[in-house]
Symmetry: C3
């Protein structure tokens, strides 16, 4: 039965913030690349970091939105974006680290979105979708604002990693694994799938190429 | 007086599913064309098929969203998109059929959006807008994600067909026509206007060209 | 303490309508430029004029949305867009006036978004964000639909003007200035900063250029 998540919430919160910082960095980098000004870069980094959770909360009718009651999100994003803009010339040194932090964010965002949806008593299928949604919508909106074709739809194991983690959770939960262990498993699997995909250049096929 | 829609709801539901399938096909085709992978194609087809209704429900504060309580939507879209991706090489054979099904979808989506809005006690003008909204936002979002200029804003009798149907409904309702007949009329008019526009290549002028 | 906005609401409503008209004009002009048809131009002008307030109300869970209970918005936008489309050849004569009206709109939209958010008991930081949000999201959505890179993120003192006004309000409020005076001040400062930025070609730096 899916219920009663008990989890070291502090850890999840910290991983969430790591994801927020990674998204803020990714948003600022793309915005800088597009020649946006200071305010524009901060705005894009906010969209990237909290856009997914915002739309999830709106879809699930959870009000007030999570970042309205916890100002840490807005503060962390703004500070991250400003620091990065000042030290933009160090960009090439952070690219690799960014992918690492981004994978942490993908895992944390997926778990949070999945948990939040289950707590609203939606069906497991919808909860899996909400995990994906929370994890990817921010990056999608960033690319849309910057007038780019979303990379994550093209060649990245991103959605797949999130789904793999959620499905594992559901299966283990069905087998009676306790919630804490299970949530750690979910975090780990999403992170691992994503990092392995980056390392070995895995990507989903575009089926069109097959025929 | 506008009230008490009584309608063979089963028929409307079936037409809705036809529209969902048409949208899932259209979304998958464009996503394939853009080189998106399997997950990306499914995501775009979901946005195309349920994006309009999702934003309508969020605007009207109807929760839970329609596809959260009826998993058929998610299942039908995913299966449609997967089948199409596997048989993509048959694409050229479905183009004509797609336009037919898409017109059914336009009619069904418009009627549903219009009815849902009236049931929330909004003014008739807003209900007409919500019919249009439900019918077009999905396609708009699809084009935005795929970084295309939305075709439907350029040269298609699409919004106009939806408005024509809604206004007919309102007029006939004022004249005392019963709801069932009226709803059939609305479905038929939208479908007919759209098909005739395709057949005779009607399109709204861009007034700019006049002067 | 931030509370009890008492303001000549009529004036604010009129300024709001000025902003709505300016946005409807800006949306129609861009849509015409893109070759959209009559319905497409009206749709883009609606998105531009009421898109920001719509998303603000959805984020703050204020229902029904403001334009659902006051049809003036939809009517004013539609009429404005149609008139402009008919007299599009006069475009070059309205460009300068547009910037003036747009600055009024920026001020009015910011004040309204800021007030609405405060009335929902959010923190001041979030209220400042909601002022910005109301003022810019419409234009952002317009550019996204028209497949343009949002200008306002690149080189305009726009977000900054809105923030300057909100922060002034908060500071003066803390110092005990009464709400009416304060709201006039906020309107004036946003308008003045925007007009001065246009006149003297101020823009925020893109920090990247510094290093």
């Amino acid at each position: 039965m899916i219920s009663n998540f008990i989890f070291p919430d502090i850890l999840l919160y910290l991983l969430d913030m790591v994801g927020v910082i990674a998204c803020a960095i990714a948003g600022t980098l793309l915005a800088q690349h597009k020649g946006f000004d200071i305010a524009g870069c901060i705005l894009v980094s906010m969209v990237n970091a909290i856009g997914g959770g915002t739309l999830r909360d709106m879809a699930l009718d959870r009000h007030p939105l999570f970042w309205m009651t916890d100002l840490n999100y807005v503060i962390v994003i703004t500070v991250t974006s400003l620091i990065l803009q000042i030290f933009f010339h160090l960009y090439h040194k952070i690219d690799k680290a960014l992918k690492f932090f981004d994978a942490i964010g993908l895992a944390a965002f997926s778990v949070i979105g999945f948990k939040v949806a289950l707590a609203q008593d939606v069906s497991p299928v919808i909860a899996v979708m909400m995990g994906v949604w929370t994890a990817i919508i921010g990056g999608l909106l960033r690319d849309i604002i910057c007038n780019e074709i979303p990379l994550l739809l093209q060649r990245e194991i991103y959605i797949t990693a999130s789904i793999a983690g959620s499905v594992t959770y559901l299966v283990l939960d069905y087998w009676g694994v306790d919630a804490i262990t299970n949530e750690f498993m979910m975090l780990f699997i999403i992170f691992a799938v994503r990092m392995l995909a980056l390392k070995f250049d895995w990507h989903l096929p575009s089926i069109r190429l097959v025929d």
